[in-house]
């Protein structure tokens, strides 16, 4: 049988999403604004609701310099090292 070569890179397999926590109580939550217009409005309201309905250890607000590019490494490391739950505000 003729051999056909693989056009994909087997290393680049889709990443699995992180497991979801059963409760937000006592967790550090980061709300990431990607700098899209109105994203802050969405995250403001989300923060209000989180404070009303849960008792997180802390809610941290972070912002990407631009939505057009990936978050800078330093910001990603900062978030990974200091948060249990990340909510990213994609919006227009």
């Amino acid at each position: 049988m003729t051999e056909y070569l693989d056009p994909t890179d087997s290393v680049a397999v889709p990443r699995k999403t992180a497991s979801r926590p059963s409760s937000l109580d006592g967790k550090v939550i980061t709300l990431l604004d990607i700098s899209k217009a109105q994203g802050n409005h969405l995250l403001d309201r989300l923060e209000e609701l989180l404070r009303e309905r849960t008792t997180p250890k802390a809610i941290i607000r972070k912002k990407k310099p631009t939505f057009a590019r990936p978050a800078p490494d330093a910001l990603r490391k900062e978030i990974v090292g200091a948060t249990d739950v990340l909510v990213e505000g994609l919006a227009d």
């Binding site: 051999e3 070569l5 994909t8 680049a12 889709p14 631009t66 057009a68 590019r69």
Partner: protein, 350 residues
């Protein structure tokens, strides 16, 4: 299916569709023989890493790119052009991560300069954006397949473009240097006239500009400006790299009158500016200057400071392309949000 109905080539094409590694059109099954021939034509090692392709950062080795080029229908000798194009889109300045993932519609447009156009029969003349030329069709297509298969830009999955555009099948043109009164795009950017290059632009679809009656720059330039004014939105400003494709007849009008490319750029940049008071969001459309810019002015409703459509004249990139008959030009908007994509060049080794 009976043995008699089986067709190995057709079956291979169907399997490739099923794997999701095509653009929806049939591809050439990438046999070891075809891929090896393409790698050999490039004169490079099969395992040489050209780039990591965002957003999934798949490893684009010479062989992996060759597999995609074969599938796209490239002749072996096109591979050096495809390798240069892939290297260009993976340059951080191109921001392929954003280009592939955005809800906007950009597609990598390959603009070819230099002797390689004639050597590989890359069309720069009549129907330059259209079908019928194998090199244009398959080099452009190979870049798309690399974005999908090594970058992960599958439509509706990672690639979230609301509309996209047909250039996402294949988008490759040559500059019609022989019909231009000016130095080529590549020479303007520091390359020699005997060097072959690709320039990659994250590009929207071409917007045609008809100007049949224009006979002087004074007729033609306001026509071009009026069409450039509405790129993206009529009040969108601070735009970056964008391509103005002048047909040979339009370029001749300007060249005969003594205009240089730089004059064209400066004229358009100076013309396409509006006072702050005309750029306030919500008057005749929701777009306009962002809040942080408006906050700089005490009374934006009366502010006369001019805001340019383009961040600088240099962002208006001018090429001459298309057939020598016809007074049609085209504007190809870039994807240039703040810190977004820029035009990126690569030399094609001989």
């Amino acid at each position: 299916m009976s043995q008699a109905d089986s067709d190995p080539d057709a079956d291979a094409i169907e399997r490739l569709f099923d794997r999701g590694v095509t653009d929806g059109l049939p591809v050439v099954p990438p046999t070891r023989r075809l891929v090896d021939r393409a790698v050999a034509a490039s004169g490079r090692d099969a395992d040489e890493l050209i780039a990591l392709v965002p957003p999934n950062y798949g490893r684009a080795t010479v062989e992996k790119i060759a597999v995609n080029a074969v599938m796209a229908g490239c002749r072996a000798e096109y591979l050096p052009v495809v390798l240069a194009a892939v290297e260009a889109i993976c340059d951080e300045a191109f921001d392929l991560h954003g280009v592939s993932a955005t809800t906007n519609a950009p597609a990598p447009l390959v603009i070819v300069n230099g002797p390689v156009r004639a050597e590989l029969e890359i069309n720069s003349g009549a129907g330059v954006f259209g079908p019928g030329w194998r090199a244009n069709a398959t080099i452009g297509r190979a870049v798309r397949l690399v974005c999908v298969n090594l970058g992960g830009a599958r439509p509706g999955d990672v690639s979230m473009s609301t509309l996209a555009h047909p250039g996402r099948y294949a988008y490759c043109i040559g500059e019609h240097e022989e019909a231009s009164p000016w130095e080529s795009l590549a020479v303007e950017h520091g390359f020699g006239p005997d060097e072959s290059t690709v320039a990659l632009l994250a590009a929207d679809a071409p917007l045609g500009v008809y100007a049949h009656r224009s006979r002087t720059p004074e007729d033609l330039m306001p026509t071009l400006a009026a069409s450039m004014a509405v790129i993206s939105h009529h009040r969108m400003t601070h735009w970056g790299d964008t391509l103005l494709v002048l047909s040979p007849e339009h370029a001749k009008i300007l060249g005969d009158a003594g205009w240089k490319k730089g004059d064209v750029r400066r004229w358009l940049h100076d013309k396409l500016q509006w006072p702050v008071r005309e750029l306030i969001p919500g008057r005749d459309g929701g777009e306009g200057l962002p809040e942080h810019v408006l906050a700089k002015y005490r009374d934006p409703d009366r502010e006369a400071t001019l805001i340019p459509k383009f961040r600088a004249a240099e962002h208006i990139k001018v090429v001459v392309a298309g057939g020598t008959a016809g007074r049609f030009s085209a504007i190809v908007p870039g994807w240039t949000f703040s810190k977004g994509s820029n035009l990126v060049f690569r030399r094609i080794p001989r």
